[in-house]
């Protein structure tokens, strides 16, 4: 594919060409469809492709009206689009068509975006590899034997493989940033409350955020500007003004203080460690200063996360019972009891990881265990929040690896949930603390797999993250590399 292929363009590049009529929305969609046809059988980034619906949207699209006019954006299979299937890659939601638009979808439509349903994911966002999907695993465009990360693996792989211009994903413990890092693209988990969750099928309500996965930082700022802002339908969305994130990118980064937490090198892949060290010298060259910071409780983050996230998930997933929508397994020719129907539906509808998390969450909320697990988890969460408050009082951004290793191989961790959970060790604390976190590409492993660095800032300071990320991107070439 030549560099001028519309599918390979960023949002900002594409907007310029659409506005000058150098390219039409139809041409963009046709180019994407051609690539999908070629690549999706190998990558499996989309749960389904409906060329006619895409062409209809392209035909109806204005090339000028709106900040995303004529820009095709793919949407993770857990964000509701009116009239489209929304299944969270789960059998239990087979056939479920959302009767309403998520707030982010409404905002994309308002800005003229063309929507590409539906990017593959781990079932109900439970996973870090996009292997827990009823549609089968998604593969990493840089190495087909590797996972794209997860749970927004479909979204990340679609952007990396140029079968979408940009994507929306959701991040509960790293589900945007880790696949962005694995696929060599940019991913942002906004501050909790920055983007409306209305229409995002809930995994863990106090941790979930929708965010952009994009080819560069400018696109990330661009997409965030569209989706951010308070929503009357989401009581947890914050009444904080939305700045022009794109305009803020050009602000200087000289004098920015970068916090470097003391991390035990143990468990971090040496190549990841080296890439981060190299990135630090880049930041220093850009005039940033570095400050050592401590995050004393970060070691408890994974344990805390798996208590709070599973507790909320067990509650949020209780509604999938076969009574009103989705899959129902009544068995016995409808002669069984209500309890039979619940048990069969949930046993056959949920995959192994979903069942594991529902059981864990039910357990930690049970009478007699609540104080020992959930309550204690909430207390540790407060400590982790304070760690970030303290650290971010001494610096502007905290720098961490996004993931402890580059992409791992398919099947490598699927039978070892603990190992899988540990791949979120650096991303989870941002969700627990509610702070924004950005992953940008910062190198490749010797095997050619992308590595990402992560920047975290104080709540609602996305503009600082994006500014620092943009300066780094301008100083490096990592984001320009594309998979074969």
């Amino acid at each position: 594919m030549s560099a001028t292929s519309p599918a390979s363009l960023t949002i900002h590049e594409l907007r310029t060409r659409l506005a000058s009529r150098a390219v039409s929305p139809q041409e963009v969609v046709d180019d994407l469809l051609a690539r999908m046809e070629r690549l999706n059988p190998r990558l499996n980034v989309y749960a389904a492709i409906d060329p006619d619906r895409l062409r209809q949207q392209a035909k109806a699209a204005s090339p000028i009206r709106g900040r995303l006019a004529g820009v095709p954006i793919t949407v993770k299979d857990n964000i509701c689009i009116d009239g489209e299937l929304t299944t969270c890659a789960s059998k239990i939601l087979a056939g479920f068509r959302a009767p309403y638009d998520a707030t982010v979808i409404h905002r994309l439509r308002r800005e003229g975006a063309i929507l590409i349903p539906r990017a593959n994911m781990d079932e109900f966002a439970f996973g870090s590899s996009t292997e827990n999907s009823t549609y089968g695993p998604t593969r990493n465009p840089w190495d087909l034997d590797c996972v794209p990360g997860g749970s927004s693996g479909g979204s990340a792989a679609a952007v990396a493989a140029d079968v979408a211009i940009a994507a929306l994903g959701s991040d509960t413990g790293g589900s945007i940033r880790q696949p962005a890092a694995f696929c060599g693209i940019v991913g942002l988990k906004p501050t909790y409350g920055r983007v409306s969750r209305y229409g995002l099928v809930a995994f863990a309500s106090s941790l979930d955020q929708i965010g952009p996965l994009t080819k560069d930082v400018t696109d990330c700022a661009w997409l965030l500007s569209v989706i951010a802002g308070q929503d009357p339908n989401d009581s947890t969305s914050a009444p904080v003004d939305v700045p022009d994130y794109v305009a803020g990118l050009q602000q200087p980064v000289k004098g920015i203080r970068i916090g470097l937490p003391e991390l035990s090198v143990e468990g971090i892949d040496p190549e990841v460690h080296r890439a981060i060290q190299d990135a630090i010298t880049v930041f220093q060259r850009l005039g940033c200063s570095t400050v050592p910071v401590t995050l004393p409780n970060i070691g408890s983050a994974v344990a805390t996360y798996y208590i709070i996230a599973t507790a909320e998930a067990s509650s949020n997933l209780a509604r999938y019972d076969g009574v009103r929508y989705g899959r129902r397994v009544s068995g016995d020719n409808g002669q069984g009891t209500l309890l039979d129907m619940y048990e069969r539906t949930r046993d056959q509808g949920f995959g192994a990881e979903a069942q594991r998390r529902i059981l864990l969450g039910t357990y930690v909320l049970s009478h007699g265990y609540y104080d020992a697990y959930y309550l204690k988890g909430m207390k540790v969460r407060t400590l982790i929040k304070r760690d970030f408050d303290d650290a971010l009082a001494r610096c502007d951004v905290v720098l961490l690896p996004t993931a402890p290793s580059p992409a791992f191989r398919l099947g490598e961790k699927i039978d070892d949930p603990l190992q899988m959970y540990l791949s979120d060790v650096f991303t989870i604390s941002a969700n627990l603390a509610g702070v924004p976190a950005l992953s940008v590409p910062c190198g490749f492993s010797s095997q050619g797999r992308p590595i990402g660095l992560q920047l975290l800032a104080a709540p609602f300071r996305e503009e600082v993250l994006l500014r620092v990320g943009y300066a780094y991107e301008q100083a490096t070439e990592w984001h320009r590399q594309q998979p074969e």
Partner: protein
């Protein structure tokens, strides 16, 4: 063996009140009763994937209003929790409710029972969402769910186990309903389910403090049912205890036909609702200013009005109590008095004929169209002698049935009393002429003949003749022998 009489009942009440907000607690759907099944639903109250609740500010305000009327302490933070259990009428399989930090606690309510004022402590008042309704189709072996009710705001008002008789429980409920009606936040209609009441009762030996085994009683569809069920349960438990039996901790259902309770389920394994804080609703502060603002808007409550009525209108405690039970009734009374009618006859009309009418038609006082001025007019018609007592009652009923002023009823039906002497004279003569035998009887000393003649005359006048005048006239004519020949 202990005698049945030596046990004291310990009773607690739990009332669920549907607030009559126009929209549901967490979405914009209508709460109107009686819509076609699932006609008032949306993704939020159906619990579809991805939806989020948004608190109805009015329901919250009304919750504060009720809490203040029950003399409660408001929480400083408004926080919701999820109560989790699987049931097909519960769309999310959890109910958004309040657990460890209810909206209000530590309140009390005073009621007068047999002249004694008793105070019932209110343990807690909290806000939660209602569930849907299951409809079973016996012929098809299928069940259906109507989610119109799902998400309707409920206020749960729980007492401490302070009530010591079925009658006190009954009076508590009457006072509760009266307060809620004054606050104008619920229709309190038990048939439509906008007021639901569960109760629990245990017995203990008189003079002891230890609580006995508690039995919950449900399926109570009227205040009377609550009273009967408690009386029954008190007797049942006392009899069992007197026999040396143990009371099982259980939930029992009231059978309104058989007039007895029946065991529904035992409470041995308590349900684990796995409560945890609702992460979709951010806890927020309830500020003292907010509370004071609501307090400033509270209307005069029944107890205050009762005291005022006694003082201002010189009513006895009983009359003041009856007149203030319903806000509509109290309003009618005050407006009629304000229009210039003496208080006592207005009170008599309202407490007698009006309440009988309302009871007969199974109506709420507020549902009757009655202009207070009509009441004043009616009282005046009687006082001026233009209507007899029995006629006034007929006019009153007509007035309420048709919603028209008394003058109109009187005019249309020719009910006005005849006091014109010439008219009455003609009537008396006619009757005397036709009843020669009665005249002779009377003159022989049989005074009951006069009653016979009166009856004839009243019948002839279709009841419109002024009875005092007519009787005097007849008597005079009989005694003076002034019986004119018919004309």
């Amino acid at each position: 063996m202990t005698s049945v009489m030596s046990y004291e009942p310990v009773i607690g009440l739990e009332v669920h009140l549907q607030l009559k907000t126009t929209t549901k607690l967490f979405c914009g759907c209508s709460t109107k009763f009686g819509a076609p099944p699932n006609g008032q639903t949306c993704p939020v109250c159906l619990g579809l994937p991805g939806v989020l609740p948004v608190l109805n500010a009015r329901a919250f305000d009304w919750g504060i209003r009720v809490a203040l009327a029950f003399n409660c302490q408001l929480a400083s933070v408004m926080k919701f929790d999820r109560k989790q259990y699987f049931y097909p009428d519960l769309p999310k399989n959890y109910q958004i409710s309040q657990y460890d930090q209810p909206l209000a606690q530590h309140g009390h309510l005073e009621v007068v029972v047999e002249g004694q004022t008793t105070r019932t402590r209110i343990r807690r008042i909290h806000l939660e969402e209602d569930a849907g309704k299951l409809l079973h189709d016996a012929s098809q072996h299928e069940s259906f769910v109507d989610f119109n009710r799902a998400g309707v705001p409920l206020l749960e008002i729980v007492t401490e186990p302070d009530l010591r008789s079925a009658e006190t429980a009954y009076q508590y409920l009457i006072e509760l309903k009266s307060i809620i009606e004054y606050l104008d936040v619920s229709t309190c209609n038990m048939e439509e389910g906008s007021l639901r009441c569960d109760t629990n009762i245990s017995l203990r030996s008189q003079g002891t403090e230890t609580l006995g085994v508690k039995v919950e009683v449900k399926n109570l569809n009227s205040f009377r049912a609550v009273k009967l069920a408690l009386e029954h349960e008190q007797h049942r438990q006392a009899t069992a205890l007197a026999r040396g039996e143990r009371i099982a901790q259980e939930t029992r259902l009231w059978d309104a036909r058989a007039l007895r309770t029946e065991s529904m389920r035992s409470k041995e394994e308590a349900a684990d609702y796995r409560y945890f804080p609702e992460p979709d609703l951010v806890p927020f502060m309830i500020t003292p200013e907010q509370v004071e603002q609501v307090r400033g808007q509270l209307p005069e409550l029944p107890a205050q009005r009762r005291a005022r009525f006694q003082q201002q209108y010189q009513l006895c405690a009983y009359d003041a109590n009856v007149l203030t039970q319903s806000r509509a009734l109290a309003h009618l009374f005050e407006e009629a008095v304000r229009a210039g009618t003496p208080a006592k006859p207005v009170a008599n009309w309202l407490m007698g004929e009006f309440l009988a009418y309302v009871k007969d038609k199974s109506l709420e006082p507020a549902a009757v169209k009655l202009d207070p001025v009509w009441l004043k007019d009616l009282v005046e018609l009687v006082q001026r002698g233009r209507l007899s007592g029995p006629m006034a009652k007929t006019v009153f009923t007509q007035m309420l049935d048709r919603g028209v002023p008394p003058q109109q009823v009187v005019g249309e039906r020719g009910l006005e009393q005849i006091s014109d002497p010439a008219h009455l004279e003609r009537l008396a003569d006619e009757v005397l002429q036709a009843n020669q035998k009665s005249i002779e009887d009377y003159r022989r000393g049989k005074t009951s003949a006069l009653l016979h003649l009166m009856g004839q005359a009243m019948r002839l006048s279709k009841g419109t003749a002024n009875p005092q005048q007519l009787s005097a006239l007849l008597k005079r004519k009989l005694e003076q022998g002034q019986v004119n020949a018919p004309q």
